[in-house]
Symmetry: C2
DNA sequence: GTAGTCAGATTGTCCGGACATTTGCATTGA
DNA sequence: TCAATGCAAATGTCCGGACAATCTGACTAC
């Protein structure tokens, strides 16, 4: 009986284009990722050793390793010294991204809508000043938005932004999400500190979200940083838990 | 006037021990991380080019790059082509880990306690079977624990585990957290899928957590996978939001 | 039969070099 | 004065090789 586990990459049509400006390791990692996504590389299968794979593609081993490493970082592959590289065997799909409520809803086919209720400049409170690392009392933008899906209120979003970063056009804010606006303004989002909790709705919150007073609400506070580490946004959001929950995929750092 | 921004790593006492079994790139990244943590490398400062740093330490450039890259992945450094490598300029500390409530509480100095209320084997419900990828009705472990801090109930934790993975000793469960038990049993935790929401407490939940019926509760459902992608745990947890909230640090994938 | 040993396979670490690409700044030109 | 050009500096990509560490499985010795 022949060994059933043959290197599955030999039957894969892997090719790299050396004239392309796309880095070789990236071309390879994309093709491998597509093969995993498509099912050509089944979970649990061994990838075949790096040396041979490099030889077959006409690449050096470091380049192949770089491609494989990027997929390991994404959680799609697992390497074991002395054994080989294996496709992870799970329902795992996307790692975890800086979630944008607008994008989340749109991806779920919910056709989100936004109503801008407040768009003004206010002096920073102590809390906001600390979060954005600006002087207390200095000017910051304050926007309040009601996010709806299918005409039903889903979340009430209060955000503060440092001045001069973005011009906040109300029409644009109603047409898309804040993160998308910031990205298109050339801001590179880097990380965010989030705190998720729950509490009963105050009378004002209840009315905004069409809930009863004291009804459970999901709350999130978030400070977002760009790639230089400066705070670019502070948000204080409340969600209707019957309509929304936070879905994460966490990866353990090795 | 001399240029004020001198390479700050020259004044750092960086050394590597080639006789140590610890990889050189790891020794270097640890020292750099410690310097950032300690404040010797101030936010915004440039690190000085890789070539010179490699020469000064007697290392090759790939090794230095590997050390720097690991800190970039952690979000502590930013590289800019044509510019240099810079210390990120923020309050960012730890990226984000697969959070263990027990460890979180212990780190916060809260002296957690655990009361195991149920520790038995039950047939898997449809939901549990789907989460753990076992046959519906097959045997799974079921444990229910009340987590307390300073004698006050904080969370009620229901967990399901596939059979044969771990022997669940009630005494051990009361002395430490589930994740720590799994790790010490040789299980390599890899990723987890989480869903965080909120709802009003049922009468039974209210009594367990010493809250009123209908009081807001924070809920988390989680499936944890090991490095081969197999589900090793499914949890259904409820938290008292006045006592606990989820704190995250998210990194954007470049 | 069982435990210990050894060899092969595979990934992990490290080197030294080469060229490409991007950025910032100084110089040059209109 | 201001814009375009060119140069230097830094990271990004890629190569080919070497040896170490670890896992698996087969073989050997008891």
């Amino acid at each position: 009986m022949p060994k059933p586990d043959v290197d599955p990459t030999v039957s894969l049509d892997l090719r790299v284009d050396r004239s392309s400006p796309v880095p070789l390791y990236f071309q390879l990692s994309q093709q491998l990722e597509a093969a995993i996504e498509h099912g050509s590389l089944t979970p649990g299968s061994l990838l075949g050793n790096e040396i041979e794979l490099a030889a077959r593609l006409g690449l050096s081993r470091p380049t192949v390793r770089q491609a494989i490493q990027s997929l390991v970082d994404k959680g799609l592959l697992v390497r074991r010294r002395g054994v080989g590289t294996q496709v992870v065997h799970s329902q795992v799909k996307r790692p975890l991204e800086l979630s944008s409520l607008y994008d989340d809803l749109e991806a779920a086919g919910q056709r989100p809508a936004t109503k801008v209720l407040v768009n003004t400049v206010v002096p920073a409170s102590a809390e906001v000043a600390a979060a954005l690392a600006v002087a207390e009392g200095s000017d910051v933008h304050r926007i309040e938005r009601l996010r709806l899906a299918h005409g039903e209120p889903m979340a009430y979003l209060i955000n503060f932004l440092p001045p001069g970063l973005l011009d906040l056009d109300t029409n644009q804010l109603e047409a898309t999400g804040l993160y998308r606006l910031m990205r298109s303004a050339g801001i590179t989002l880097h990380s965010a500190r989030q705190s998720i909790g729950a509490r009963g709705a105050t009378a004002a919150e209840a009315e905004r979200l069409a809930e009863a007073e004291g009804a459970p609400l999901l709350t999130m506070q978030r400070t977002t940083f760009d790639d230089t580490g400066r705070a670019v946004e502070f948000g204080d959001h409340t969600y209707r838990p019957t309509r929304y929950s936070f879905e994460f995929q966490l990866l353990v750092r090795p």
